[in-house]
Every structure is written in structure tokens, then in C-alpha cells.
């Protein structure tokens, strides 16, 4: 459905240096895919979106939607944006201040080319859209009288009201509270499934990305470093950056031991800080690796911990609690292991709290530790 | 000699040092040459002039004096005089140099005198109208061939359409005159609310073959440069003396008098004559003698003195509005 080939659009700052944009983006999505662009602020998500929308002219590459090329540098094709039949939510909501909420949402139908909508049709369609975003009562409000979140929701309603084939969403929920955001996620997902819309979704909230997406692309400094399913991205990140960016993790640097010895697929890695750890390894990672251990995979025990830990099946580290922060359903602990400066981050249930300074033992199975490329 | 102003006047004037002249004359044909000549003769006196239409001039002086802040010393222009006289803002002064000027160009009791006179008559585009087709008399204007072909300046002064009406009424008498005017109105003359000169230019470019109420001296000026234009001695021609006067309560009365003296003098009029103005002093030769009523080819005139005008103008304007709008 959506296909990007070597799509490039960079903003040159001083000659040579890279100021921002997107480089050599390659993507091929089947219809109905929920595709998410994930990446740090300023990495090029919006730029990519704007290129697909036709708001920016790429420097090179091709954009193909449903078989028809929308942009092709060589062939000199560049379909004007209003012919692309795309729904879009702008990061700056771009609500028209001179129109009422209703008019804002109705606009795409009023100007639709494929067919004229009757007043009644528009009224119902807009009504639905507003209900979906939870602004039922606000139709007649002037757009200037809305709160930030409400404006954002109007933008969303405007993007979905005419059921486009392709939906581009630039952080559409960033200003909504958790529960509302969740509601809207579900609504969006439902809509997208029912109508078989292909959605390109920009978010900075990884849990959102993991929960909603069929495919995720992680962008770093304008390059797509990994494209894959949520579980791929989360459980087998290609490198340190992805591992660190998607979800919290503890990164240890080390060198794969010369002997590939170990139980099953396990490797043993000699840590820079000293000490050794047994872990899975992405195949093909060179001797110098970064090891990622998710906080939630580490089990905390008070003091020396149970004898069970003694046997060689698990990695065991002793340390001391240096910080704890309460997040409701979990508590984040920071733990300094003996003989290493590297602070560990561990999640545990709030039921049995550990005090600051108390000695603890960290346990995690080799499967929970993954060796990936550095950088 | 007449054109040498009395010594004490000169001294008094030089003491004042400057003189301010509100003029309605053309700056580089009349005003600047006159000023130059004057300052050459009286180096100690500096002449400042300000050019405006005679009605604006009047407006200024009236306001200045009512604010007790008179700036102007000398003014010229019929329009101005007609206002300033009843407003009692004119200082009578009989210049010695005015002695040679014929009586008809001087006010009854020394309120004004004219260094030059304007004649107004019809003019034709010689490319479009041959000498013999050209109208000779006012009656000829009623010929159907001139319907829609005539243009005139309708500035509400004796030098515009109202002047023409006045001339007719004065020469033909009330009812014959009115009868004539009715017929003329039927000829559908084009009204142009611009200066007579601009109207003449319309004739020169050929927008119209025939214009009424043009300054007779403008035609030879253009003709000299090759323009296809000539003026018609349609008698009686309108004569309008250009009044010069002294402002009452002038800040520099003596310098003012001296300037007037100079303008009226033979010397001054000679300068004016160079600029194609028509001198009133019989001893000064006009550049184109034919233009003078008393020249080699004399013609009858209707003299529009300020007195005549201020008495008749309102009536003429009324008639004009009734018949020609």
C-alpha cells in the first residue's frame, strides 16, 4: 500500500554537516498496516510524514501509494497534495481559528472531489467523528475557545472524518491524559481496522507504539535503524541505541569470550568493568558487544538472596540500593553493584519495598540478557 | 524719470530687506525673471514668492490678517483682488511708475493697477479646420457643424465659460444674449474643469477642433514650436487686466510698494513682455504685436475690470449652471 524507496529530504545547515531531515528511508507496507515512526526528538519523523503528505518535496527517492507513484524524482512525478486523499494530524494542530469546531471538522467533506456530500451526511459524519474524539458537545464552539487537548482532538476528528485511505498522524495524542489517550488509541485502532486504513503514526510514547503498531520503524538521526514488529524491536533490538530507546534497559559493555562455550545458545561475555555474564547473542555480532538487560527481568532479593541463586544457571550480582522512585504500579530502584560503577536500574512490585542503602542481590537468567552491536 | 522710484522709498524698502509676493503668475515665465531683475536692481532686498491660484492666494491673506499675522506684502490676480477689496485688505497705492499706464488699466482710487492684460478668445486646430471654415463671429458658433466639436474651460471665473456669458450679455443685451446662449447650449460644448491652457492642448492634440475662452497669447507660443493652432479674432475679445495690489497691514509696506513700482514700471513690463505677457504700457512692445488690441491689427474688446467682474460673475455662473451643465 505505502512504499518508500530511498526517500531523502535533508535540511543542510552549514555545508557538509547534517542539520536534520530523513535519509534513504525504505519501506513497503501492505494495506491496513498500522505503521509507527519512533525516534528521539528531531530525528526526522515529521519530515518523513510531510514528504509522504506532499508538504515537502523530497531531495530524492520515490513514494508509492496503492501502486500509483505520488512522487518520483527521476520520472518527475509529483502529485499535488490535495489529490493524494490523505488524512493528516499536524503536530501543530493547525486548527482554523476562524471556523467553529464543526466547520473545522466538516471542511474535508465540503471540499471533497470524489463526491458531493449532502448537509445531512456531513452533519452525521462530523457528529460521529466528534463523538469518537469525545467532543460531542463542542460542535458550535469557536476553535479559539478550546483547551490544548481539545484542539488536538479536533485535529484528529478532521483527519478521520472523510475516511481517507492513508492516515498520517503526528503525535496525535501527545496532549491527552492517560485514560483519554487509551480510549482514543482503541477508537483509532478500531476505526483503522474496520476501514482497512493504512496509518503512519508518529509517537514518542514507546508503550503506545508497542501496543498499537503492526510495524515499527526506529529512526536515529534521520536513518531508519530498525524496522520490524513490536516484539522484534523490543526483544531483539539490532543495536544498543534501539535497545536503549525502546523501553528501559541496562547496558553493559563487554567482549564475547573466545570460547563459544556455554549452555545452549548462551555465550559468556567478559565485562569491561570486570566480571563475566552469560547471555543470548544476536547472531553475527562482533567480539565487542553491548549487553541489554531489561529492568523487569531482574529479580531483587534482600541481602544475599535465596540459595537457589547459587547454582550457575543464573547471573547473580550483589549491590546496594542507591535510589528508588515510586511509579504506582511499580517502583524503580537504582542499584550500584559491587566492583563496578555501572548503575543498574530494576523494577519491582511496590508490595515489598527495599530501603535506600540496603544490600540486595540481583538475579537474571541468561535468556534475559541480550548481546547486541554497540553504538 | 517715471520708472525710477523715489529715493526715500528705496531706502525705507532696503531697511525692511525682504518682500513677500503672493502671485498667480507663471513662475518661470514671469515671476522668476521679474524677481531676478528686481534683486539685480535692488541687491539689498530679497524677494520671496509663493505661487497659488488667485482664490487660494485670497484664502491665505484673509486668514493671515484675521489671525493678525499677515505675511504677504504684494499680491496679484483678479480673483484675489475681488475678495480682498470688499474684505478691506487692500492698501491703496499709486506707484509713480503707473503714470504711463492708460486709465482703463488702473483702479479708480489707486487700489489696483495692471502691469499686463490677458485676452481671451476662441482657438482652432489648423490641421482640422481651414482658415475659411473657421468661425468668424459668435453667430458662426451656432452652425450645426460645430455641434459636439467645441470645448471650453468652465473654471468659474471671468476667464472661463462665465466670462464668455458675461461678454455675450454685455454686448448683445439681456434677452438677445440669453436667446443666443440658449442656442449655443444646444451645441453641446464639452465642459472641462481645467485651466484654459490645458483646454488649448486638447485642441492641439486634436481631441477637439475648436476651443472657446483660450488665452490668445498661448496659441502663438505653441505655434512657434510648430503646433497646429491659431487663435480667432472673434470680436469683442475679452480683456482681463491682471491686477497688482498692496496688502493692508503688510509687514514690509515699503519694499512691497517698491516691488509694485518695479512690476508696473517700463523695466518690469519689458521683462514680462519677454515672457509673452502683454504689457499695458503702450511704450513697451509686446513680443507678438498682433496680440495687442491696439496693435497693428486692432480688435474690439470687452474690458473685465475687477469692478465689472465682482458685480456680474455670480449672475453669469448661475446662467452657466442653468444652460450648460
Amino acid at each position: 500500500m505505502l512504499k518508500l524507496e530511498k526517500l531523502t529530504k535533508v535540511y543542510p545547515a552549514r555545508p557538509g554537516e547534517f542539520a536534520g531531515g530523513i535519509r534513504d528511508a525504505d519501506i513497503d507496507l501492505s494495506a491496513g498496516t498500522f505503521f509507527t515512526l519512533l525516534g528521539p526528538s528531531g530525528c526526522g519523523k515529521t519530515t518523513t510524514l510531510r514528504c509522504i503528505a506532499g508538504l515537502e518535496t523530497p531531495d530524492s527517492g520515490r513514494i508509492i501509494v496503492g501502486g500509483t507513484p505520488l512522487y518520483d524524482r527521476q520520472a518527475g512525478i509529483a502529485v499535488p497534495l490535495h489529490r493524494r486523499n490523505i488524512g493528516m494530524v499536524f503536530q501543530s494542530y493547525a486548527i482554523w481559528p476562524h471556523m467553529s469546531v464543526f466547520e473545522n471538522v466538516a471542511f474535508p467533506m465540503r471540499v471533497s472531489k470524489d463526491r458531493r456530500y449532502s448537509g445531512a451526511e456531513i452533519k452525521t459524519a462530523v457528529g460521529e467523528a466528534l463523538d469518537i474524539v469525545g467532543l460531542g458537545g463542542y460542535a458550535q464552539r469557536s476553535a479559539t475557545q478550546l483547551s490544548g487537548g481539545q484542539q488536538q482532538r479536533v485535529a484528529l476528528a478532521r483527519a478521520i472524518v472523510h475516511r481517507p485511505k492513508l492516515l498520517l498522524l503526528d503525535e496525535p495524542l501527545s496532549n491527552l491524559d492517560a485514560s483519554l489517550r487509551e480510549e482514543m488509541r482503541l477508537e483509532l485502532k478500531r476505526l483503522q481496522r474496520e476501514l482497512g486504513i493504512t496509518a503512519v503514526y508518529v509517537t514518542h510514547d514507546q508503550s503506545e507504539a508497542l501496543a498499537m503498531s503492526d510495524v515499527i520503524a526506529v529512526i536515529e538521526k534521520g536513518r531508519m535503524v530498525q524496522v520490524g514488529s513490536p516484539r522484534d524491536i523490543y526483544f531483539s533490538p539490532v543495536n544498543e541505541f534501539v535497545a536503549g530507546f525502546v523501553g528501559h534497559t541496562n547496558i553493559l559493555r563487554g567482549r564475547v569470550g573466545a570460547d563459544g562455550a556455554g549452555v545452549g545458545p548462551c555465550r559468556s561475555v567478559r565485562l569491561e568493568g570486570g566480571g563475566e555474564i552469560r547471555c543470548r547473542a544476536r547472531n553475527g555480532v562482533g567480539p565487542d558487544v553491548a549487553i541489554s538487560i531489561r529492568p523487569e527481568d531482574i529479580v531483587l532479593d534482600a541481602g544475599a538472596g535465596p540459595a537457589a541463586a547459587a547454582d550457575g544457571t543464573q547471573n547473580v550480582l550483589r549491590g546496594e540500593v542507591t535510589a528508588a522512585s515510586f511509579l504506582g504500579n511499580v517502583v524503580h530502584y537504582e542499584i550500584r553493584p559491587e566492583n563496578s560503577a555501572q548503575i543498574f536500574r530494576v523494577e519491582a512490585a511496590p508490595a515489598t519495598p527495599f530501603d535506600l542503602g540496603s544490600a540486595v542481590t540481583m538475579r537474571f537468567p541468561p535468556e534475559a540478557a541480550l548481546a547486541v552491536a554497540r553504538g | 524719470p517715471a520708472d525710477a522710484a523715489s529715493q526715500e522709498l528705496v531706502q525705507a524698502a532696503e531697511k525692511e530687506g525682504t518682500v513677500v509676493w503672493y502671485t498667480s503668475m507663471i513662475v518661470d515665465q514671469a515671476v522668476r525673471p521679474l524677481v531676478a531683475a528686481f534683486e539685480k536692481k535692488y541687491p539689498k532686498i530679497d524677494v520671496q514668492f509663493s505661487r497659488a491660484s488667485s482664490s487660494d492666494t485670497a484664502l491665505k491673506i484673509v486668514n493671515e490678517s484675521s489671525a493678525g499675522h499677515v505675511m504677504g506684502d504684494v499680491f496679484d490676480g483678479n480673483g484675489a483682488y475681488i475678495v480682498l477689496r470688499p474684505a478691506n485688505l487692500v492698501e491703496p497705492y499709486v506707484a509713480d511708475s503707473a503714470a504711463e499706464i492708460p486709465a482703463e488699466y488702473k483702479g479708480p482710487d489707486g487700489y489696483w493697477a495692471a502691469p499686463n492684460v490677458y485676452y481671451l478668445s476662441a482657438a482652432i486646430n489648423t490641421d482640422m479646420v481651414s482658415k475659411d471654415d473657421a468661425p468668424k463671429t459668435y453667430q458662426d458658433l451656432l452652425d450645426p457643424k460645430w455641434k459636439n466639436q467645441m470645448v471650453w474651460s468652465v473654471v468659474p471665473q471671468e476667464s472661463g465659460a462665465p466670462g464668455f456669458i458675461g461678454n455675450i450679455l454685455m454686448t448683445m443685451g439681456q434677452e438677445k444674449g440669453m436667446d443666443y446662449l440658449h442656442k449655443l447650449a444646444a451645441q453641446k460644448i464639452t465642459n472641462m474643469d481645467t485651466s484654459q491652457r490645458t483646454v488649448l492642448d486638447r485642441v492641439i492634440v486634436g481631441d477637439f477642433p475648436l476651443a472657446l475662452m483660450t488665452y490668445t497669447h498661448h496659441s502663438p507660443i505653441s505655434a512657434a514650436k510648430g503646433a497646429p493652432v491659431d487663435w480667432l479674432r472673434m470680436e469683442p475679445v475679452i480683456a482681463s487686466p491682471n491686477t497688482v495690489g498692496l496688502v493692508r497691514g503688510a509687514p514690509h509696506p515699503n519694499a512691497g510698494k517698491l516691488l509694485i513700482d518695479f512690476i508696473l514700471s517700463k523695466e518690469g513690463q519689458t521683462v514680462l513682455a519677454k515672457g509673452m505677457y502683454l504689457p499695458t504700457n503702450p511704450n513697451v512692445a509686446a513680443k507678438v504685436p498682433d496680440l495687442m488690441a491696439n496693435g497693428p491689427r486692432p480688435f474690439k474688446v470687452t474690458m473685465m475690470t475687477p469692478e465689472v467682474v465682482s458685480e456680474g460673475l455670480p449672475k453669469w455662473i448661475k446662467i452657466f449652471n442653468q444652460l450648460f451643465r
Binding site: 486523499n85 471542511f107 471540499v111 | 491660484s53 485670497a58 474643469d193 503646433a227
Partner: protein, 584 residues
């Protein structure tokens, strides 16, 4: 609905106002200061206007005795109806012409990738720099009976009839329309320059084509500017003397002002009573219009395009329509600039007026230019005029900046200041001239007869225009940008200087340019106020004009236009660079 929406906000306003009345902060001081300054500048002429309209002018030019005859004359005028209809048609259509022409151009130049944009600016500046009478007469010459068009037509068809008669309502409308399209261009170009591309792109994304986007977003967002322009051109046309006199009268097309004009001209000294009465009537009408116009700022948020989030000015890609845009720009260049200038050039090269025929070429000479350039009289004129123009424009725009800002932000008492500053819009030149004549004569200061008298008069006369530029400009700037400045600790004046003014620079530039160009050719006021020691170009022009030295006049006009263009461009470029983000 709207009422219901409105009342609480009004009451909020009041509440806000009341709270702020408790203290004497900068804005209040500013309002009061402006009220005083403007009061001093505007009130006297206004009062004189009113008095004049109610008093008899005696034949000896003194003013005395009360009367209503002037008003009666207006309302009992037998062909009031006919002239009224003419006036409205004239005003309405010339407004449409100006808006369509200037507006389209402004949009093309500022918001699209059309080429030859420089031409558009050149056209505007030069055509505004060219003296009024010259411009009009050039057009009359072109379209006149013996003008090239009719000439060609006659030679082709052999008839003695004319193809087009400029002395007609159509002629009046076209000429007046073209005369004002530069004003439209300048104001709208500054408006469009500050448009927010995000809002337009959102419309495109929703499937709207360029035109639809322009119609439902760009134009809507520009409402304040457009409304202001409509207001202006309409009012100016309703009260215009020149075109009705020069073009209308010969064609016997009478409008309301024809009668007023006569009333001024027919009596010496001019009887200003009727003219004043007329402008008083206008004043009332304008006040009403302005009242509604003022409502625009009630929910200013509707027009704020310069926001603090994702504000990126970008341009439309016309795509295959680009050549059409280019064509329009060039057409404008030819019609509004090249043709009239050619006519002037033709006249200036000939010893006397001749129709545009090859035969004329034989007589070409530079005599006229030589006279002008050699005469030091003209030089003084030029210098005086430049000084007056720069002063008037600068002072005017500063006052306009403050007033426009206060009024657009609905500060307490600002409406009043706004009204005050807008009044001069309806003063006929001559009435204003006389008023200032009387004022300067009566004040102890030695202003009368100096160029400062002119500078002051022009400042007042053109303040309303400057004000509309700034007012519409401020409405475009989202209030939050000011709030942010305040929250950062900036006093209102500081945020005005550091945030509003820079963002407003496009409007400020255009406004300055407009006043500068139009003031330097103003006649009615000039003739009355320029004393012996302060002659200005306009007066010199008038002299040449009545003297019918067409050639010299044209030469002078061309040289003058060149000078103005030079000055304007220098200023514009300099300002443009200073203008920061606001200007491109």
C-alpha cells in the same frame, strides 16, 4: 448564538478593564498620551470642520452667522438621488477593481512561486510615486479621442467615432480603481507575507485545491486587512474630487462630490460650508462603519496567523498555473506602469502635446529634461518634499503602531483613540488645508509657512492609512507571543518593541512606503500651507500644470518618480533586511 457567545466575553472584557483601571500601568499611560497627542492634532481641524459646516461665509471671506443651509442644500439637492447612485456605483466598482487587481497581485507575489516579483513592487512604487494629475492625464491622453487606441481604431475602421470614451463612468471607475490598487497591493502583501502556511497546508491536506484554500482560509484569515481596504477605497472614492472633476465633468457624469466641488470653486473665496457639511455627513457614516469594523478585534484570535507553534511561512507551488501567474504580474506591469510612463515619456520628449504618431518622433528633444535638471528651483522643491515625506511617514507610522496595537488588543480606551486617529480620513484636502492654515496662524509657534507645517498636516492626513496597516498587522500576531514576553518579565512597551514591532515590520514597511509616496504628491493641502520659504514639488507641478507646460511637467514628473523609486527602494531593502522573520 453569536450574541450569546459574545456577552460573557464582553463582561470579561469589562472585568479585565475594571481591574486594570485600578492601577496606572504603561498601557494606560500610553493610551492617555496618545489621546492627548491625537487630540491636539485631530480635534482642531475636526472642530473647524464642524463650525464651517454650520456657518455662513460672507463675500468678504469672513466667516460669521449660523446656518443649516449647507446641510439643507445637500439633502434637498434635486438630483441627490441620481448623484448618490452614481457615487455609490463609482465607489463600489472602483473598490472591486482595486481589490481584485491589487489583491490577486499581492497574493501571487507573496504566497506563490510566481516569477518577476520585483516587477510588481516596481510597478507599485513607481505608479504611486508618479504625481496624481500626471497619472490621470496620462491615462486620459492614452484613452482620449486622439489617444493611440482610438487613433488606431479610427485609422483601422476609418470612422470618426471613438472606440472608448474615457469621459464616462466606466472610465472613472477604471482610473480610480487603478489609482488605488497599489494601496491594496501594499497592505495585502504585508498581510499575506505573515500568513501561516500550516493552516493553508491543513486545508490542502483536507483535499482543497489552491483556489478553494485561498478562498476558505487565506482570505478569511486576511479579513481585517481586506475589510479595511474595502472601507478605505470606498470612502476615498465617495469623497474623491479629482477623478470626478477631471474625468466625470467633461462626460457630464455627476456624482455627489461634483456639486461639492463646484461649491468650492464657484465662489471666491471658496465657500467651504457645503464641503464641510458633506464631510460631516460622511464622518457619521464612517464612524458607523468603523464601529462594525472595530468588532473584528473582538475575537482577534480568529485572525492570528503568526503563532508560537509551528509557524513556518511557506509558499504555494502554482504548478502548471505558474505561467498564468507570471502573465498577470507582467500584465499589471504593462498596464499600470509601462503604458502611462510611455505616454509621459512621449509628452516629455516633445516641444508641445502631439498625438502618438510616428510623425512625432522627428521632433524628439531633451529640452524639457534639460530645463528641469538645470533649474535649481526644482531642486529646492525636491529636497523640501523629501524631508516632509520622510518625517510625515515616520511620525505617522509610529503613532499608527501604538494606536493600532492598543486598538487591536482592545486596551481600555483604545477604541476612542482609534476613532480619533481615523477621523482625518474624510476631511477634504482643502478643508483640512484651511483648518491647519488657521491653526498654525493662531499658535504662537513659528510653524506657519515652514515645511514643518506641511509635515504635521500630512502626518494627520495620512495617519488613518498607517493605522489600518498596523491594526490589521497586529491582529495577525497571536496574543500568546505577547503573553510569553510578559511572562518573561517584559513590560508592555518592551514586548511592543521587541516582539510586536519586528513581527509587524512587513506592515510597518508597507505603511511607511504608502504614506511617503502619497504624501509627497499631495496638492490641496500643499498649495495652502507651503509658504514662500517652503515650496514643495506638488506646488511646482500645479504651476506647470495650469500653465500647460505639459512637456516640462512630464519630464519633471518622470524624474521625480525616478527619485521616489530610488528612495523607496533603498528604504524598503534596508527595512526588509531589518524586518527579520516577518519579512520573508
Amino acid at each position: 448564538m453569536t450574541i450569546e457567545q459574545d456577552w460573557p466575553r464582553v463582561s470579561q472584557q469589562k472585568a479585565g478593564a475594571r481591574a486594570s483601571w485600578l492601577r496606572l500601568d504603561q498601557t494606560r499611560v500610553l493610551v492617555i498620551a496618545l489621546a492627548i497627542i491625537l487630540g491636539i492634532l485631530v480635534a482642531p481641524p475636526a472642530i473647524i470642520l464642524l463650525l464651517r459646516s454650520l456657518s455662513i461665509t460672507n463675500p468678504d471671506a469672513t466667516v460669521g452667522g449660523w446656518t443649516l443651509t449647507h446641510y439643507l442644500r445637500f439633502f434637498t439637492n434635486p438630483d441627490l438621488y441620481r448623484t448618490l447612485v452614481n457615487s455609490l456605483t463609482f465607489a463600489l466598482f472602483s473598490t472591486v477593481v482595486a481589490l481584485l487587481f491589487g489583491g490577486t497581485l499581492a497574493w501571487l507575489v507573496e504566497r506563490t512561486n510566481t516569477r518577476f516579483k520585483a516587477l510588481a513592487y516596481l510597478t507599485t512604487v513607481i505608479s504611486m510615486g508618479t504625481p496624481y494629475i500626471l497619472y490621470v492625464s496620462a491615462w486620459l491622453f492614452l484613452l482620449g479621442r486622439s489617444g493611440p487606441f482610438n487613433d488606431a481604431w479610427r485609422t483601422m475602421t476609418g470612422t470618426r467615432q471613438v472606440l472608448f470614451n474615457p469621459y464616462s463612468l466606466t472610465g472613472m471607475i477604471l482610473i480610480e480603481g487603478f489609482l488605488w490598487s497599489p494601496l491594496v497591493f501594499l497592505l495585502l502583501s504585508s498581510t499575506f507575507r505573515s500568513a501561516n502556511a500550516d493552516l493553508e497546508e491543513a486545508a490542502r491536506m483536507s483535499g482543497a485545491g489552491v483556489l478553494r484554500t485561498v478562498w476558505s482560509v487565506s482570505i478569511r484569515m486576511a479579513t481585517p486587512a481586506i475589510a479595511a481596504l474595502a472601507l478605505f477605497v470606498f470612502i476615498r472614492a465617495i469623497e474623491a474630487f479629482e477623478v470626478p472633476a477631471l474625468v466625470g465633468m467633461p462626460g457630464n457624469v455627476d456624482v455627489l462630490t461634483t456639486d461639492v466641488y463646484r461649491s468650492i470653486k464657484e465662489s471666491i473665496p471658496p465657500d467651504l460650508g457645503y464641503a464641510s457639511a458633506y464631510s460631516v455627513v460622511l464622518l457619521v457614516a464612517v464612524a458607523i462603519l468603523l464601529h462594525f469594523y472595530g468588532k473584528l478585534s473582538r475575537n482577534a484570535g480568529r485572525y492570528s496567523t503568526v503563532t508560537g507553534k509551528g509557524y513556518r511561512p511557506r509558499q504555494f507551488d502554482l504548478g502548471k498555473w505558474r505561467p498564468v501567474g507570471d502573465a498577470l504580474v507582467i500584465f499589471n506591469f504593462l498596464i499600470v506602469l509601462v503604458l502611462p510612463l510611455l505616454a509621459l515619456l512621449w509628452l516629455s520628449l516633445l516641444p508641445y502635446m502631439r498625438p502618438m504618431r510616428p510623425s512625432g518622433v522627428a521632433q524628439f528633444s531633451l529640452a524639457n529634461f534639460a530645463t528641469v535638471l538645470s533649474s535649481e528651483y526644482y531642486r529646492t522643491l525636491a529636497i523640501n518634499t523629501l524631508i516632509v515625506g520622510v518625517v510625515a511617514a515616520s511620525v505617522g507610522m509610529i503613532l499608527a503602531l501604538f494606536t493600532g496595537w492598543l486598538s487591536a488588543r482592545r486596551k481600555a480606551g483604545a477604541q476612542f483613540v482609534d476613532q480619533l486617529a481615523t477621523m482625518p480620513l474624510v476631511f477634504p484636502g482643502i478643508v483640512m488645508g484651511v483648518a491647519f492654515l488657521m491653526i498654525f496662524l493662531s499658535v504662537p509657534l513659528p510653524i506657519y509657512g515652514t515645511i514643518w507645517a506641511l509635515a504635521i498636516a500630512y502626518t494627520v492626513r495620512y495617519l488613518p492609512y498607517g493605522l489600518r496597516y498596523t491594526y490589521a498587522g497586529v491582529l495577525q500576531i497571536s496574543n500568546e507571543l505577547e503573553e510569553a514576553a510578559g511572562a518573561s518579565g517584559a513590560t508592555p512597551l518592551q514586548s511592543l518593541r521587541r516582539v510586536i514591532a519586528p513581527l509587524l515590520s512587513p506592515a510597518l514597511l508597507s505603511g511607511w512606503l504608502f504614506i511617503f509616496l502619497i504624501a509627497t504628491k499631495e496638492l490641496a493641502v500643499a498649495v495652502l500651507l507651503s509658504g514662500p520659504s517652503s515650496p514643495v514639488v506638488a506646488v511646482g507641478m500645479y504651476d506647470l500644470w495650469v500653465n500647460g507646460q505639459g512637456g516640462e511637467l512630464a519630464a519633471f514628473g518622470l524624474i521625480w518618480a525616478a527619485v521616489m523609486t530610488l528612495v523607496a527602494s533603498v528604504f524598503y531593502l534596508a527595512g526588509g533586511r531589518a524586518g527579520g522573520a516577518g519579512a520573508h
